[in-house]
């Protein structure tokens, strides 16, 4: 799986680590059942973690993260991006709210802040898929963004990538 990584400091001792992981052709045709003729379509999953879990993170790192992601949307205009929300426990000041709901609200607010920029870039819609697992009452969310239909190569010349 090819990936692009970045680390964003919050200038207070912590960092956000963001990774775009591009699914390979086997995942696309096997797991996602995408027809062979569309196998060139890039599908990237977004991963976001605090570098130091036990330290707070200044909100400015999230704002910088949004700009970095918008830059990636621009670099890969023909890609589909997904974000699978974690269901791991999370310590917050909102104990009545499930961790995944807290995360969802955070990313929804960040998304809403950036709608003008996204609209300017020609992003037409975002689709959300929510799957409720009733047995243990967990919620898993997948959000995908389908960008404009301009064509581009996966990695422009000189663009830094890493392989895992």
């Amino acid at each position: 799986m090819e990936s692009i990584e970045t680390i964003i400091p919050d200038n207070e001792g912590n960092h956000l680590v963001i990774v775009l992981s591009f699914y390979d052709d086997n995942d696309k045709t096997g797991t996602f059942q995408i027809p062979q003729e569309f196998v060139e379509l890039d599908i990237a999953d977004i991963s976001i973690d605090k570098l130091h879990i036990d330290l707070p993170l200044n909100l400015s790192a999230f704002f910088k993260m949004c700009q970095w992601l918008i830059d990636q949307f621009s670099i890969f205009p023909n890609a589909v991006f997904s974000f699978i929300c974690s269901t791991d426990p999370l310590e917050t000041h909102h104990s009545a709210m499930a961790s995944e709901q807290y995360r969802w609200n955070l990313f929804e607010n960040l998304y809403q802040r950036n709608i003008p920029k996204l609209t300017e870039m020609g992003i037409e819609s975002g689709d959300r898929v929510k799957g409720y697992n009733c047995r243990n009452r967990r919620v898993s969310d997948i959000r995908t963004r389908v960008l404009s239909d301009k064509t581009c190569s996966r990695y422009p010349p000189g663009y830094p990538t890493s392989h895992q």
Binding site: E5, I7, H15, S47, L51, G131
Partner: protein, 44 residues
């Protein structure tokens, strides 16, 4: 302006649940390795 469409799946298939859980596991493993690498770099 409404820019988001929500599709709710009240009773997801076993396959969908298995896919999401597998994806979450793999994601967690990938991120652990990457974060370990950056912790070493920032502490070093």
């Amino acid at each position: 302006m409404e820019t988001t469409n929500t599709i709710r799946i009240p009773k997801p298939s076993r396959e969908l649940v298995a896919f999401i859980e597998r994806a979450q596991r793999q994601k967690k493993e990938r991120m652990k390795k990457i974060c370990d690498k950056y912790r070493k770099l920032t502490n070093g």
